[in-house]
Amino acid sequence: MIRSVMVINTQGKPRLSKFYEFQPVEKQQELISSVHGVLSGRAENVSNFVDAESIFGPDTRLVYKHFATLYIVFVFDSSENELAMLDLIQVFVETLDKCFKNVCELDVVINYSKMHTVLDEIIFGGQVLETSSTEVMKAVEEISRLEAASNAISLVPKSVSAWRSR
């Protein structure tokens, strides 16, 4: 089972955090900062796996990937495969990239709730739900479409956005 997903920037600021087993707010901060502590201490060309037992308790490990200013971290137990988790991070990032067209840290910060939507389509209740980024994209686009439709305000004519982008 996946215990947690975190997106932390290199300064240690959380950009997205999700715990599949409830953790009180203070505990979350503590976990995030100790994860950041471990990750920032790691050299460039080492493995992407870290033993997380000292942070998350017995039978936990952590896989991370470092992108420019962000660490993307998955914490999970022995029922998952480390390499596969590494690729799941890849799926997640690929999906974000499709969503935001060349994703960057700014996108991650601003589109906070959309990040959650994407993540919820990939991981559900700590289990891997979907691993095909096209499928995830389809689902997310469907959600955005229907949400927009249910939203009266979005009836503002398209020309407005065109005008704005000038």
Binding site: R42, S79, Q90, V93, C104, T117, E147, V160
Partner: protein
């Protein structure tokens, strides 16, 4: 005016439609990003909380605004501040009819609330309603919340709806419903135990996504109880086969591998089902062998599947051919440059070593490289492996290494762990008592406070009891060497408390036993200890008792005692101590030294620490005194539980407690009585138990399956398979695939087996992979191996000189040592020793010595080199033609800059993967490469180069990270 406002608001939103945020949110993010210090950030967030509190208390907040506030609050809470004042608003938002608001509400509550929060009760009703909604997105949102918020008390309230949803027309809903059911099962197994059949049913769902989700649940169920799912082995094997044969929709391909995540899950399940079950295992051999051959080892995910195959092979009933394939993959992993693969290789080696110990010997140098790697993760994994392969012949080297590493790290958690490992290994395999004591001394010296106190007691016990060899000389020699080593160590500063206790105790018992040191010398040392660690009471207590023992021994030996002045002052100090324990000890000491020799000898007999002291639990010696008191008219004693007043009160308390328990909320009138399910066994325990399944090596070697028997086995498999799973085949297979296909698959499988049978590693795995190996092979001989490393290797993996001497006596010792350990740890340890003894008679496979190892190193095959060359040109041309070339670059995210971009010119159309993976996260990327990428992405759906550039510069301007110097945040974006 109103319309203008709306437009203004719209402008403030990002370009993300429904997900957009307002300017205020952006301002918040911006100012936090700019914050120069933690304190400043804190201040901004607190201010924001104040603002939100004020806004939320206003009447009639527009819904849209409310959503905005909630999102801001989620953000604030993520930064670690309490937002509980607004939870109720989030709860209210879930009631809204607007999908966007509802989803936001659900998102917020599932992030905010724990499953036993008071507000949950207000949401359950909404969830119930939403689960019945016509809009599937509403249902999905509700299911999402269900996973996070429902606990065992509220499960019955939503269970019927969730079960109904298993038949929902939308696969997205079915998928989530099955997961939710699984979550219920995790949280309260008893409430859904009657629904387990649903998981089996969903396995045949015609959507592969739903099937994949079901596998997660089944995996958990099978982890708990494999036996009741044995009938599904055929189905799993057939599904795996179909997946491997690419019968799933293309959308599930990932890096050109068919549904690797599903394959991994299936292999995990098969590993559980086949563990210790020969019959089931035999059904799996063919398909696992196929996957070994088909899997592309150039991609990360391909290696993940291969690794899972190895796990499966090492868990199921062993098959020599598969083991051989697994060994090949492992050697490829270990020789790889990637740390990840090395890590997986070490892990896999640790699994396989239990079945075929001889494979470790081939990889000794690789293992040692990993041990010396700067990467901690890899190092620890390697220690794990060494732990598994420790024997009496290599225990000294391994434990020395472990201790060295233990000294070098600061991570207390791991230090504790590795210290306990050292102790365990030393207890089991110690080649000599001397070595054992020295090792324990080192462990205590460097990790004393982290070691279990029991270990210290065991050590004392060991020294006291000797090694049970009826050899008093050896025992006393051991003791005097212990005393000597402790006298050497005692002067060192800052020893851990536990270690000092051991030292004091040993010095007290045996310090003067061999007559080498005088009583005054030892007592002087003990006084020094008590003085140096004057704030550690237990050390002082040990020290003063040790002093007492030494004086007692002196007195009973008839020697004259000269009480040292520092002892005198110590006793005086202690008799005025705050601790009654210390006081008592001090007074006892004073009392003992004033007695005469025979009395002292009966109080403190020398070397009697192991003698049993009989305890009279009934206190029968007091009978006379009690009798006397009763005769004088005292009340007889009434045991506590028979006293009437107390009884009432405690009973009352119990009842109250019961009331409280039954007073939970009911969402339905009555429920059927449920069968009681065994509670969930932690996976770790299960894993370890499967690991412990004894696999006697010689027997499987004899039972090697002949290739001739193959067709019959798979025949049986496929015929049964038709009965069970035709539904699955029809749904995914091409129309041609039906029962008639089974003979053909049979033949194909048998031929493929023939190829693996060949001794050489001719692969159908794919040329790229042979290329990789060849480069290793050709490189390998050039690598100079330092003599030091070789020496280490031979000592780890068995050198010729060490092998013969020890085993029998050491094993004897090992079992002795383990009997010394306390009752708790006795059982497992004894078992471990047992297995060790069992495996002993077999020839020591690891100890083949250096000569064989060097000869078994792969020689360079000129043909393969040629092949490798050809292959390289192949790859190059592939890139040029833009076919599969892109897929061969192993790690797209390994971040551009290098290869793939160069040859792109004509091949843009097909290079989707690289482009898709192009990540804009680096702003440091040079402009040259950026434009190149831009040129490429034009052909894709991605943005044009100008966009990319603009965005990039925007990011730089924004300075989302506080290091950025530019204060002009968001100006461009907001106009």
């Amino acid at each position: 005016m109103e319309q203008l406002k709306t437009i203004g608001r719209e402008l403030a939103m990002g370009s993300q439609g429904g997900f957009g945020q307002s300017k205020e949110f952006l301002d918040l993010v911006k100012s936090i990003g700019e914050a120069r210090s933690k304190a400043e950030e804190e201040r901004i967030v607190l201010l924001e909380i104040e603002t939100l509190k004020r806004r939320l208390s206003e009447p009639d907040i527009p819904k849209r605004k409310m959503k905005e506030y909630i999102i801001r609050l989620v953000y604030v809470e993520m930064l670690g501040h309490d937002g509980s004042f607004a939870y109720i608003h989030a709860v209210k938002m879930t009631h809204d009819d607007n999908l966007l608001l509802k989803r936001t509400g659900y998102l917020a509550v599932s992030l905010f609330l724990s499953d036993d929060h008071d507000l949950i009760i207000l949401i359950v009703n909404t969830i119930q309603k939403d689960l019945r909604s016509d809009n599937y997105l509403v249902v999905c949102a509700a299911l999402n919340a269900v996973c996070k918020l429902i606990n065992d008390e509220t499960v019955p309230a939503v269970l019927p709806q969730v079960v109904d949803l298993l038949a929902h027309p939308k696969e997205a809903v079915r998928k989530k419903a099955i997961m939710a059911l699984h979550r219920f099962y995790q949280k309260s197994p008893s409430s859904v135990s009657h629904l387990v059949s649903n998981f089996r049913k969903r396995l045949c769902d015609n959507d592969p996504g739903v099937m994949g989700a079901t596998l997660c649940s089944l995996f958990d169920l099978i982890t708990i109880d494999a036996n009741s799912f044995k009938d599904l082995v055929v189905s799993f094997v057939s599904i795996l086969k179909q997946v491997a044969e690419r019968r799933l929709p293309k959308a599930y391909d990932y890096h050109q591998l068919p549904a690797p995540f599903i394959q991994i899950r299936l292999l995990k399940i098969l590993a559980l089902l086949g563990s210790g079950d020969k019959q089931s295992s035999e059904q799996m051999y063919t398909v696992v062998g196929d996957i070994f051959r088909k899997c592309d080892s150039s991609s990360n995910i391909g290696n993940a599947v291969l690794y899972e195959c190895i796990c499966c092979v090492s868990s199921i009933y062993p098959n020599p051919k598969l083991l051989e394939q697994a060994a090949q993959v492992i050697s490829r992993f270990l020789k790889s440059d990637s740390h990840n693969l090395k890590y997986m290789g070490i892990d896999a080696l640790g699994r396989l070593i239990k079945i075929s110990p001889e494979i470790a010997e081939q990889h000794q140098l690789a293992v040692i490289d990993c041990l010396e790697d700067p990467d901690d993760t890899l190092k620890r994994k390697t220690f794990e492996l060494l732990y598994k392969m420790t024997k009496s012949s290599n225990v000294e080297v391994i434990v020395d290494r472990m201790i060295d590493y233990m000294i070098s790290i600061n991570d207390n958690h791991y230090k504790t762990y590795i210290a306990s490992r050292c102790v365990e290994l030393a207890e089991q395999f110690a080649p000599s008592n001397q070595w054992f004591i020295l090792t324990m001394n080192k462990v205590f010296e460097h990790a004393g406070d982290l070691v279990n106190v029991k270990v210290a007691h065991n050590l004392m016990k060991l020294i006291a009891e000797g090694f049970g060899e009826d050899d008093d000389d050896a025992d006393s020699q051991l003791r005097s060497s212990a005393v000597e080593s402790y006298l050497r160590i005692i002067g060192e500063p800052k020893l851990p408390s536990v270690f000092l206790q051991v030292i004091c105790w040993v010095l007290g018992e045996y310090g003067t036993a061999d007559g080498k040191y005088s009583a005054s010398y030892i007592t002087g040392k003990l006084c020094d200890v008590a003085e140096a660690y004057s704030n550690d009471e237990s050390v002082k207590a040990y020290a003063v008792t040790a002093i007492m023992k030494i004086y007692a021994f002196e007195i009973s030996a008839g020697r004259k005692v000269d009480f040292l002045p520092e002892c005198q002052s110590l006793v005086e100090e202690l008799s005025a101590s705050h601790s009654t324990d210390l006081q008592q000890r001090a007074y006892e000491l004073q009392a003992v030294i004033s007695l005469d020799a025979p009395a002292v000898e009966s109080i403190m007999p020398p070397d009697a620490s192991c003698e049993d002291i009989e305890i009279d639990k009934n206190l029968s010696f007091l009978n006379g005194y009690v009798q006397e008191a009763l005769e004088k008219g005292a009340q007889p004693y009434i045991p506590e539980n028979e006293r009437s007043g107390v009884l009432d009160i405690s009973n009352f308390g119990n009842q109250d407690h019961h009331e409280a328990l039954t007073h939970s909320l009911r969402f339905e009138a009555y429920e059927l009585p449920k069968p009681v399910m065994p509670s969930r066994v932690p996976p770790a325990a299960v894993a370890s138990s499967t690991e412990l399944v004894p696999v006697p090596e010689p027997s499987y070697a004899r039972e090697t399956r002949q290739p001739a028997s193959l067709p019959s086995v798979s025949d049986a498999g496929s015929s049964e398979l038709k009965l069970r799973l035709d539904g699955v085949q029809k749904k995914w297979g091409r129309p041609t695939y039906s029962s008639s296909a089974s003979p053909s698959t049979n033949s194909s499988s048998s031929t493929s087996h023939k190829t693996t049978n060949g001794v050489t590693q001719v692969d159908s795995v794919g040329t790229s992979n042979s290329k990789a190996r060849d480069t290793y092979d050709s490189r390998r001989p050039q690598v100079e191996i330092s003599p030091e490393k070789q020496k280490l290797a031979s000592s780890l993996f068995g050198g010729p000189s060490k092998t013969e001497k020890r085993p029998s006596s050491v094993n004897h010792k090992a079992s002795k040592a383990s009997t010394h350990t306390s009752e708790k740890s006795q059982a497992p340890k004894a078992a471990a020793v047992q297995t060790e003894v069992n495996s002993e008679p077999a020839p020591d496979l690891l100890d083949l010595g250096d000569s064989t190892s060097s000869s078994s190193a792969p020689a360079i095959d000129p043909f393969k080199q040629l092949e490798g060359l050809l292959d390289q040109t192949d790859v190059a041309s592939n890139v040029n033609h833009g076919t599969a070339g892109a897929a061969k670059t192993p790690d797209f995210m390994g971040l551009y800059a290098d290869t793939p971009v160069s040859g792109l010119g004509s091949s843009v159309g097909d290079l989707l993967p690289t482009n898709r993976d192009e990540f804009n996260l680096t702003s440091e990327l040079s402009n040259a490469t950026r434009t190149a990428q831009g040129g490429v992405t034009q052909f894709n759906k991605g943005p044009n180069p100008k966009d990319a550039l603009e965005k990039d510069s925007l990011v730089r301007q924004m300075g989302v990270t506080p290091t950025s110097p530019n204060p002009n945040l968001f100006r461009d974006l907001l106009g």
